[in-house]
Point group: C2
Chain length 260, copies 2
């Protein structure tokens, strides 16, 4: 038996999220189908394990998945084989053989998410599936003043959606940044130990409200202290969120944190 770790990109627009659901087109279902087709042994079905679930419409540049093949195939053969079998909105970017105790979900030491927010009166046809649309203009300087308060180890109960199965809401955010593009798009990047269900989208919604002047620049410490989801309210649209990178190695994580 050989364990493979793959890095997967997908355009989330036409998927009902990562997790398998009966009668729905999901990333897990499409990848499971391709892996089993490649393995050519219907008698021993292969199960795949993802680093994290993404919701419907959420994109990935660097989702990580592991699975075991009973008969070893070289990594390059796995990459090409899967890419030939997968639909065009999914792409295997990298394949490695890993030790049999590697686990895509439980071995993570950090995750990096990217969010694209586009501010305009009407939706831009070319951004509609790839950004979250906001009708009101946000001031990037207000957002940049507010965002460092999210960094550190906090109980993020205020920033977790009601569907969360996590018991412990303490997470550590290593870096949180926002910047504006010339066309009015605002981009966010968050790197942390892990994120709660919808946490990034709820943080972006709060930050955009701060930028729009609907919340004070210094409101984040009180929001965190409140431990009350009702105080954060909004959730930024799924279409702007990208799972950018999953870390399994502390040295690589540290190196990225130093260089970003």
């Amino acid at each position: 038996m050989t364990r493979y770790k793959i890095i997967l990109a997908y355009d989330g627009t036409n998927f009902a999220g990562f997790q398998r659901q009966p009668g729905q087109r999901t990333v897990e279902q499409a990848l499971t189908k391709a892996v089993n087709k490649m393995a050519k042994d219907p008698a021993t079905p292969i199960v795949i394990y993802g680093a994290g679930r993404t919701d419907a419409g959420v994109h990935a540049f660097g989702q990580v998945v592991h699975f075991d093949l009973p008969t070893a195939i070289n990594p390059e053969g796995v990459r090409r084989g899967l890419n030939s079998l997968l639909p065009v909105d999914m792409l295997v970017k990298k394949v490695e053989v890993v030790p049999l105790d590697f686990h895509a979900r439980y071995d993570t030491v950090g995750k990096r998410y990217w969010y694209r927010a586009y501010q305009n009166e009407f939706v831009d046809p070319f951004k509609r599936n790839y950004t979250g649309h906001f009708k009101f203009t946000a001031d990037i300087e207000r957002i940049q003043q507010a965002i460092p308060a999210l960094i550190g180890k906090h109980d993020f109960t205020t920033f977790v959606a009601s569907g969360s199965q996590a018991h412990d809401h303490v997470r550590e955010i290593y870096s949180a940044k926002a910047w504006a593009l010339a066309d009015g798009e605002i981009q966010f990047e968050f790197c942390g130990s892990g994120f709660l269900y919808n946490q990034v989208r709820i943080m972006v919604a709060v930050l955009m409200e701060i930028g729009q002047g609907r919340r004070t620049v210094d409101c984040i410490p009180q929001l965190i202290a409140a431990k009350n989801r009702a105080q954060a309210r909004g959730t930024a649209p799924a279409s702007g969120l990208y799972m950018k990178k999953v870390y399994y190695d502390r040295a690589e994580l540290q190196s990225d944190l130093n260089s970003y």
Copy 2:
């Protein structure tokens, strides 16, 4: 009666092209529906006229359309009204009142097209609808050496698709450029008096073949002289083509040609 000129952007992915076709979702059909809904007078149907047809999958940043409204509405009201009624993959960027003898199709003095070619073994999920996919790597320097031979007034019979209704195949190309991005994407921009059916896509296919070493760098003058479509063969995918700008004013055209 008031004549309006609008600048229209659309993501061509989910349209069966510009031109109205029974039972198909087209740009002309969607815009005609929105204009007539805005005008609120079913007794006098309003017809729209586009600067040029785009094929299924082809995008536009700057398609131009004119139509007449029996009762004048201020241009900003037309822009907001249409954007509220149009589907999310279309956007009216600008509205102007123009003289009643303005014609979006017959008054053009130039057009600018942009083409995005992406070279990779497998299709990239985020580029699949927005670039033309090429399996084999092209050398940008070979393309840049070959492309100036397209500039000037030529009979482009070799570069016209068989469905063309044009009798005269002489067109003038004012500028033709190609450059490479860091990720392997090659972009092309062509500005000319007008372009024949599929002309830009056929020129890109030839240029990519030159870049891939399947044609000589100096083949273009012979291809033009041959006046024979069979010698050009390929047509680059529709998904990489963008109608960028339509010119009605020679001074503006000249100014853009000087500054690009």
